[in-house]
């Protein structure tokens, strides 16, 4: 296995991008990444595209060749990777393996989702279909209510409070205010989060990430070839996948996300480091409770300590561990299938020292954590500052 580096990144602004189609989002992100890497199209061995549900959201399947075609890369084999909300991260893992194994020297991994061509209710129903349609959704559960159940359980078992959940959101909005690509680049007061209209008890409107349009892409390169290209490299030091039952009710314990724990353990093992070595992490905060659980399950804090740690500011920018410096899914935005790549883009920006006002000082390692469904799949990547 060879070492793999990211040598190019690109992303679109995230938001309700009424005037941009899925293919435009994919192309914009992909071309920016190629340009950043200094790689020409004919050097690319393969294109991987993370996407959750183009078939239902825009009635278009077979999107990877379509994006490649319209980007002028019609000779390049392209494939779409789907794993619910973890589609982007899973695509990145596939791209990593292609380069690490020696099959390809250069691959492009993109993620794109166009969610605002259907109305909010339809988009939410499509998102809910990443849970168990037959045994959860048909019985009346939604993606929101399943996460609300998880939150209730966590609050009951660990005394996590609604105020602590709100702190996650306040922090992520504060980080997003320093990110020009964020959908909601503004700070919000805790009062607004706590008093927001209820979605599914205990999760209010601000506890839930938006559904967004957006695209992101990275160019991966065999580590021993990075000198041939202009792009500033960042090493992918570790990868780990995890899995669990698709339905929440089939899991032995719902106060922890088994898929996340397994993925993290593998990634740490793969990179040869421990949680305390991680300087910043982009975690899958599709709900406020998800970030609390993630920072526990990724090993940054003991189980049940995620809430208090957040409340004490231990996850704020340049504190104990900087979590979701980009603003996360909540405030940077959630173009579902692109999320894993958006996270990787942030990790690279940080390790290149290009993050401006949201720069994590002296960061050596960064982590990205991407979850599919309510936790049936998870993938973790560890990024490392490039050393010559």
């Amino acid at each position: 296995m060879r070492d793999v580096a990211v040598i190019g990144i690109g992303e679109t602004r995230i938001g309700e991008l009424w005037d941009k189609s899925l293919r435009e989002l994919g192309i914009e992100a992909g071309l920016k990444a190629l340009q950043d890497a200094g790689v020409s199209g004919d050097e690319v061995g393969m294109l991987y595209v993370g996407n959750m549900s183009a078939g239902e959201l825009i009635n278009q399947e077979h999107i990877a060749p379509m994006i490649a075609d319209y980007a002028g890369l019609d000779d390049i084999p392209a494939v779409r990777i789907e794993s619910g909300g973890a589609s982007g991260g899973m695509a990145l893992a596939e791209g990593y393996m292609a380069v690490a194994s020696g099959i390809d020297d250069i691959v492009v991994v993109g993620g794109a989702e166009k969610m605002t061509d259907v109305d909010d209710v339809i988009a939410k129903n499509i998102l809910s279909s990443t849970a168990d349609q037959e045994w959860e959704v048909v019985c009346g559960a939604t993606f929101d209510s399943l996460h609300a159940m998880i939150a209730q359980y966590h609050m009951n078992k660990y005394r996590t409070t609604k105020e602590q959940l709100a702190e996650v959101i306040v922090k992520n909005h504060s980080n997003a205010s320093k990110n020009p690509n964020a959908q909601y680049p503004r700070e919000i007061p805790k009062k607004l989060v706590v008093n927001a209209p209820m979605v599914s008890d205990p999760l209010g409107m601000f506890d839930c990430a938006p559904l967004s349009d957006g695209g992101a892409a990275v160019v991966l390169c065999a580590a021993d070839l990075v000198d041939s290209y202009e792009g500033k490299p960042v090493k992918i030091a570790g990868v780990g996948h995890g899995a669990d039952h698709i339905a929440v009710h089939d899991r032995r314990e719902i106060g922890t996300m088994k898929a996340t724990r397994i993925a993290a353990e593998k990634a740490y093992d793969n990179a040869g480091i421990k949680p305390e070595n991680i300087d910043f992490a982009e975690v899958h905060d599709n709900y406020s409770i998800s970030e609390i659980m993630a920072i526990e399950d990724l090993g940054f804090f003991d189980k049940g300590e995620g809430g208090p740690a957040t409340e004490k500011g231990k996850t704020a920018l340049n504190s104990e561990i900087s979590v979701n410096t980009s603003g996360g899914l909540k405030a940077k935005g959630q173009p579902v299938g692109a999320v894993g790549i958006n996270q990787a883009v942030e990790a690279v920006i940080q390790l290149r020292d290009d993050a401006g006002d949201r720069q994590v000082e002296d960061a050596q390692y960064g982590m990205t954590h991407n979850v599919g469904g309510t936790g049936a799949s998870a993938v973790v990547h560890i990024f490392e500052r490039w050393s010559e």
């Binding site: 309700e16 009424w18 005037d19 605002t116 109305d119 909010d120 209209p197």
Partner: protein
């Protein structure tokens, strides 16, 4: 666009049904915090037509008052255009019923217009063409609606009823229309298919790429054409689907709150769709003085805008004390109703009679 001949408003009047319902009352039924939603939309109450009111009766009342105010006879009216998205008949014009009611038939032309919320102002422009070309002396343009919002939908908090009628001519004008222009695109932000009782909409898509983009472009265009700036206008009237949008667009275009205040009726009567800008302009004319300049931009989903640059003449003084009720007088006659009465009035109870 500028007519070759002087053209403008000879008379106008508006009518709004007296029944009102509050967002709080609507929210109570659907388990929503209606009061907060109302505050967000800046709508305190919306008008509701009684079971005997529709676009025909609203238009007829407004037309009758406008004719009375003008001192013209029915047969002096050469054309009647009624703009609405809630014509009672899919096939059978509203305009012929209004024409017969005010004694304008049969030697006249008539038609119903539809362009979502700007069908009324489309009638203004048509009449301007007919009278300024000398084909007729007077044309009547009406914008009226009894708009629909599906039970529980966001629209239900704002969809209201009302309308206003204008007589357009070339002589004895209360206000001259100096310029008009339109801005039209194919933008599917809001629609109702044939046979459907309630409209569909694209949620927030109805905002930025629809309402805001079109009003901005059209208003900037007319100010360019007429070489004016916001400071040249005493008043401005923008389409008002809720209380938030017109305030926001006014600010964005450089108008002060005071300029739009007299025409901002939505907070009290809700969104009267095709009636909204005609009523807002009528309310502004009610309060205007000779020489006042008014900028008007109507917006219709689908999508397009009509802008007008209007100057009030000395004749406005002559109607100040006539017997026709002002818009403020009309809308001050209010009776608040419960959701159950509203459901009956709006034919939302299946099998009800």
């Amino acid at each position: 666009m500028r007519a070759k001949e002087k053209v403008g408003i000879k008379s106008y009047a508006g009518y709004v049904p007296r029944y009102r319902i509050t967002p709080k009352e609507i929210g109570k039924v659907w388990g929503k915090d209606g009061e907060t939603m109302g505050r967000g939309l800046r709508i305190n109450s919306k008008s509701v037509p009684s079971p005997d009111e529709d676009v025909v009766t609203i238009s007829t009342q407004a037309a009758t008052w406008a004719l009375e105010r003008s001192k013209l006879d029915g047969e002096d009216i050469g054309a009647i255009y009624v703009g609405s998205e809630s014509h009672p008949y899919a096939v059978k014009p509203t305009a012929t019923i209004v024409g017969a009611s005010i004694g304008a038939t049969p030697l006249m032309t008539a038609a119903d217009f539809e362009f979502a919320c700007k069908a009324g102002t489309a009638g203004f422009q048509t009449c301007m063409g007919l009278v300024s070309s000398g084909m007729m002396k007077n044309g009547m343009a009406i914008g009226a609606d009894t708009s629909q919002g599906a039970p529980g939908d966001a629209l239900e908090y704002s969809a209201a009823a009302g309308g206003a009628a204008y007589i357009i001519g070339t002589e004895d004008l209360l206000a001259e229309i100096n310029y008009t222009c339109s801005y039209t695109t194919d933008t599917p932000d809001f629609w109702r298919r044939e046979g459907k009782k309630y409209p569909s909409h694209g949620g927030r898509f109805t905002g930025k790429p629809a309402y805001f983009k079109h009003i901005t472009e059209c208003t900037r265009n007319i100010m360019k054409e007429s070489a004016t700036t916001p400071e040249d206008y005493d008043y401005a009237v923008f389409h008002q689907p809720n209380g938030k949008f017109p305030v926001k667009i006014a600010g964005k275009l450089g108008f002060e709150k005071e300029q739009i205040e007299p025409g901002l009726l939505v907070t009290r009567i809700g969104n009267t769709y095709s009636g909204a800008v005609p009523l807002g302009l009528a309310s502004t004319l009610d309060q205007s003085e000779p020489g006042d300049r008014i900028l008007v931009t109507a917006y219709g989903s689908g999508a397009g805008c009509d802008s007008f640059d209007i100057t009030v003449t000395d004749s406005i003084e002559d109607i100040k004390n006539d017997d026709i009720p002002s818009i403020q007088e009309v809308i001050s006659d209010e009776e608040f109703i419960t959701y159950s009465i509203y459901a009956k009035y709006r034919d939302k109870i299946e099998g009800g009679r």
